[in-house]
Symmetry: C2
Subunit: 141 residues, 2 copies
């Protein structure tokens, strides 16, 4: 099992995993924001994955996107593999609204993260875990 980069562990909560990827919740209450981290050693870019993993990543990204759309009815999803700060391959899935703090800019580095209130975070984790378990092969952490 590939280790998750310490910076991701610092900024996120590990919710669980799908077949290929760990599923992380970014701890920024400004946006519902999940991250897929393929459980493969030494990967920094999507094109470095083997072909089967590339397609599995697409399936997991689509499944996650649909859960986010169902739960949060976003104006847009932002789906992105950037990695300018954390080299380990990870794919952001961010719920965006026209009224959110950074709109229409991307979220990274714009507005400082807003910590979740503990009850709000617990409720969100419960909601996400239930939806992921119902719709995907998610295994909670």
């Amino acid at each position: 099992m590939a280790e998750i980069h310490p910076r991701l562990l610092q900024d996120c909560l590990v919710l669980g995993r799908l077949e290929l990827c760990h599923v992380l919740l970014m701890l920024d209450a400004r946006y519902p924001w999940l991250i897929l981290v393929p459980d493969r050693d030494g990967m920094s870019e999507i094109h470095q994955l083997n072909e089967a993993d590339q397609h599995q990543l697409m399936r997991e990204s689509v499944a996650l996107s649909r859960v986010l759309v169902e739960l949060f009815r976003p104006d847009r999803l932002n789906v992105a593999a950037l990695g300018n700060v954390v080299p380990q391959l990870h794919v952001h899935h961010i719920v965006r609204y026209r009224h959110d703090a950074a709109w229409p800019a991307p979220v990274w580095g714009r507005v400082p993260a807003l910590p979740y209130v503990p009850e709000q975070r617990a409720g969100l984790v419960e909601q996400l875990t239930a939806a992921l378990t119902a719709r995907t092969r998610f295994i909670a952490a």
Copy 2:
């Protein structure tokens, strides 16, 4: 054939197409920057594509990424479907270097685009067209 959004046509040059997607060059000399636009009407998010198109998008994104890596040896690729400004589904593929104008921030909305000098643009288009034609089923515009 789906029409390409006028804002993309204003900011980019259409280089040609792959099986699913149009291939556009963003006219910003700060970064080698290609965009895939699936030739499908009414799509704004990846998860709205049918499954065959999702996997074809992955194949074309990986092929494009490999061409960019081969030609430009980036420190990172940024691969992203955002769409906060242009609603039509389009996927950015941006060559990033630690010494580029926006690093480590994402490129969008940071530093004004730098127009290409005509000879520089013609050389880049020739280089990209040759590599895409050699490595993929690219058809030049």
